[in-house]
Homo-oligomer: 318 residues x 2
Amino acid sequence: MALTVVGSIAFDAVKTPFGERERMLGGAAVHFSLAASFFTQVRPVGPVGDDFGDEQFELLRSRGIVTDDIEHVPGGQSFFWRGHYDFDLNVAHTDDTQLGVFGEFEPKLSDAAKAADTLFLANIQPDLQRQVRAQCDAAGFSGLDSMNLWIDIAKDSLLAAIAEVDCLVVNDAEIRMLTGESNLARAARAVMEMGPRAVVAKRGEYGAALFTSGAGTEAGDDHSFFALPGFPLEDVRDPTGAGDSFAGGFFGYLDGVDGNLDEPNLRRAMGYGTVLASFNVEEFGTERVSRLQREEIDERFEALRRMTQFEGLPAPRG
Amino acid sequence: MALTVVGSIAFDAVKTPFGERERMLGGAAVHFSLAASFFTQVRPVGPVGDDFGDEQFELLRSRGIVTDDIEHVPGGQSFFWRGHYDFDLNVAHTDDTQLGVFGEFEPKLSDAAKAADTLFLANIQPDLQRQVRAQCDAAGFSGLDSMNLWIDIAKDSLLAAIAEVDCLVVNDAEIRMLTGESNLARAARAVMEMGPRAVVAKRGEYGAALFTSGAGTEAGDDHSFFALPGFPLEDVRDPTGAGDSFAGGFFGYLDGVDGNLDEPNLRRAMGYGTVLASFNVEEFGTERVSRLQREEIDERFEALRRMTQFEGLPAPRG
């Protein structure tokens, strides 16, 4: 199995009440790839500039990530984001965004990247998402993230992109905004009527909810619902990349189940997404996930399972 | 087993995007009592005015609620609240509050009310909560709700009241505000250090989280965590009273388990709270819960269980 992800490969400057970093590896495709790397072979696709060097490549390769489709643009600078968080870590404040080489990005995928079984289109301009989707026609399962900006300025493109994927993974506020429907269950149903058979609503510290429709449900019901809380942590230092880490755990796990996308596997994928997101926020940027061990993931998954079941033992808090 | 609740018994005027009512039965003790009435015998304590008549008493009595401790104040008017909700049903906008007979309320409990096994102090002035708590010294399990107003203007009284109960049930924003701690897990721990051995964080549409400490946990862990999403509904018409209905289901169920407040029972109580809250919001005021059947509760509880388990079948959405 193999997974291709397209999205930003970036440097971030982040300040939170618990510290700051002036320049660290970041970007949606990076957080996604690191999380997914525990489950399958993953290829990030995206451009970088001259500032992206051996240190960054080495960090990705040390996790088994295939970096052949990271395109070095000579003379360019990598995508850069500066932001901060105050008391409420759910709200990111953007102070600066420099597109750099991302401003001229035209996705050109290698044959190996095109042959992926699973495809994730991280949050980039929706026409670019569609270009990548069209190149990966072997993918049996595809997902897409987006943001309020594209709903505002490129809604038609975004709707077309959504119609071409199996699973939408966005913040719950964006599902509401996209559909004009304040009720999340109705909004998710409206998205599924556009094409996707699954919708994951990311809810920040409140976790994530999964809506599915059709043949993927064992009981033959038209629709089903599943939700997990965020893993309860007493120390959250930097929420940047949590949503991308969630998606990486979710799609990484699903790429490893040989096409068996039934409801139990989708639910387990929600669990792994939740676990990877929780590790990501414990430290700044990629610091925690880049040295994470698979056993830690499985331990926390089991703790999460115990924390969300009616029967069975309670678990210690993380 | 028997349960006493003190809190507002009121008339509400409510407008939402789905309709409006000019005057309907409401108040925390009313919503709580109706929800709890499916599990145990419940006695609401609170004052009403001349406007509270046979129709209101009959509605409560038809659910087996004992109304002996509802105090009629001749010449007075009942508590009145007017509010509205816009697109975001999570946010109540208060347009008018008239305390009426509640302004002079001094709780005088009957011997039967004092003998309750379980006590719930709904959101009223914390010194009044303490007066009631002191009168109910037989209660083996007690809980308390509050609001931002009391944190602002009567924090010392509120802290004293919290120290005297077993379980705090408030909105998550209020747990943060009360403790000055942005991290919910830390905030809950801080509350438990004040006295309560359980903290329920109400999270609106995101559901509720339970933090427990000490001997109540089967595994002997110091602390445990459990969370449930809100039940996914496509039709939410009026969220007024959802939190009180949650508390009624939670404490009502726990009053019926003969003092066995272990972790599995606390989790099941979270489930019944979630279910009662979900029925409450389907229609205005008490309209839905006042004609609810026990079988409907059990069906939805089972659906909620299936929606939150990693293994097992998916459930149709409500």
